[in-house]
Symmetry: C2
Amino acid sequence: MAREKKVETVAAPATTPAARSGRRATSYDVARIAGVSQSMVSRCFAPGGSIAPAKRDHILKIASELGYRPNALAQGLISGRTNMVAVLISSLTNRYYPEVLDELSRRLTERDIRVLLFSLNAESEVDAVLDQVWRHSVDGVISAARLSDGQIRLFDEHHVPLVLYNRTARAASAASVCCDSTTGERDLVERLLNAGHRRFAIIAGPDDSYVGEERRVAALARLAEAGIDDVPVVRGDFSYDSGRAGMHDLARKTGRIPDALICVSDQMAIGAMDAARIDLGIAIPKDLSIVGFDGSGPAGWASYALTSIRQPVRRMTEAAVAMLMERIEDGTTPAERRLFAGELLGGGSARIGS
Amino acid sequence: MAREKKVETVAAPATTPAARSGRRATSYDVARIAGVSQSMVSRCFAPGGSIAPAKRDHILKIASELGYRPNALAQGLISGRTNMVAVLISSLTNRYYPEVLDELSRRLTERDIRVLLFSLNAESEVDAVLDQVWRHSVDGVISAARLSDGQIRLFDEHHVPLVLYNRTARAASAASVCCDSTTGERDLVERLLNAGHRRFAIIAGPDDSYVGEERRVAALARLAEAGIDDVPVVRGDFSYDSGRAGMHDLARKTGRIPDALICVSDQMAIGAMDAARIDLGIAIPKDLSIVGFDGSGPAGWASYALTSIRQPVRRMTEAAVAMLMERIEDGTTPAERRLFAGELLGGGSARIGS
């Protein structure tokens, strides 16, 4: 009880704007008006606090009249939990795949956990953000932004549970949830091969992108197995514009149009489709098959009807949240990688076997 | 100083997972090893705390070795500020306009403020979310999600500054930042009229959408001024699918195709374009002009090249954050509405004068 007493003093100091324009009711106000001690008010709001039912009802009634609400900050200090989880996302992930953030935040909210959002615009911001993460005493972190092995190890040092979303740690061990890019990309290539395509090209992602590289490598490996080694590769940044520029680059550099173009993201595939059809007058899929990866909303729009692999975002975000909860409950839970199969989106942008 | 002493006891109780797997260093650990009092450690980390430079360096060195970081929760209790701002967004806003969240979060982060994200999926979730907002003692709230006048008044009662994004309160007074939908929509209609269009139709938003209704009303008013009153209106939910369905509805219900279709969002305009061109074989803009509103990413994709009004998202989010900061600094700052002009995106989906 002594501990609760200490941290319940949360009224703003008299010099803050809140005090100037009035202030929130504190547990002391409730205690005074209810005619009980402040520690009894604390007990009334503490999970599992022992108090007589009649007393509790009386205190809750007064608290409600005064608009008193137990302060979550103070409660965090008592329980050792803040019920806050940080979500690290890169602005590109969100701009081109906002479902991920929506689903993560919905699932955390369902568990009465609040989401502290860190939207990273550059690699160089990660250290400053991690510093904030440690200071804000979050219960755990889900990261869809890139972290170095060294940065991942800091989570262990700070005893902050971490789950990686669509990326894994190379050296450091960490829990992660991924879509199985390798199997999905191999499946797409195999279908393109079966339909008779032989001249391939790839629009890959940045070389520091985990999923982008996994998809590029998987496609090249499956093509090599089929004896196809001369595959031009250009790189984009997952954006529409970079896909459109990539298509122009390929046409210019190779001097000929491939018969199958593998793009490691839908957004780049859509940009490449527009470059091919509108800028270069190439018929899709008659003269060029284009495949993407992700299954995000615009892939299904009638103007594109992209052949792609859909990531099971609901199941993946559900798994990420469940894995994080396990690790918050028990900090000794060992690292685990959960790999979810993608689903083929037939679409109409590629000639593939049914 | 007495106050700081009280709240610095933030080590997790011995029964939590953090304690089982090790625990973070506290100010007491730093004090013991540095051979100083705990209150001196507190002073060392408190903004403006008075302490001799040599002493400070010594304490900072020990703190760094132990990995001690002052706990932001405890600091929030001291300063009366949490440096957290809640952002309320509806999942649709984010899914179809993720730039807004990215920009808001980037601008808040620049000010060393963390974003507590509340992604609402249904109107009915607002009360529960507001309850969380009060409990988490955020410094302020930016809401791009719909709040009732009653809900807006709760912010005053709880002394929590609020800025509305792209919506305003009807009765209650609140600070807000909006794109000037009325002027933008009237401009589009005027250009369509000047280019000779006479048979109009509208795909509007849900009737409880503030911006959707403002745009619908503005378009109808400008058309009425031109003597055009027989304007069929169907409603969508701002999604691609609802725009596509809306175009089919209009064709079926009216038995004839308008020569100009006004959609109150880009996403619906894109759905309507696909329905018109791909499903109904209508040439755009030759036989049908379609205009949208927002200027979101896909409006610029070559397959659509939508004629639209671009919201100045950067300036709007910048203004929203600045207005919130003013109100956090001074709770008595009066309500203000800032209205930003949109910018015409010429595009190619409508025959309009240059």
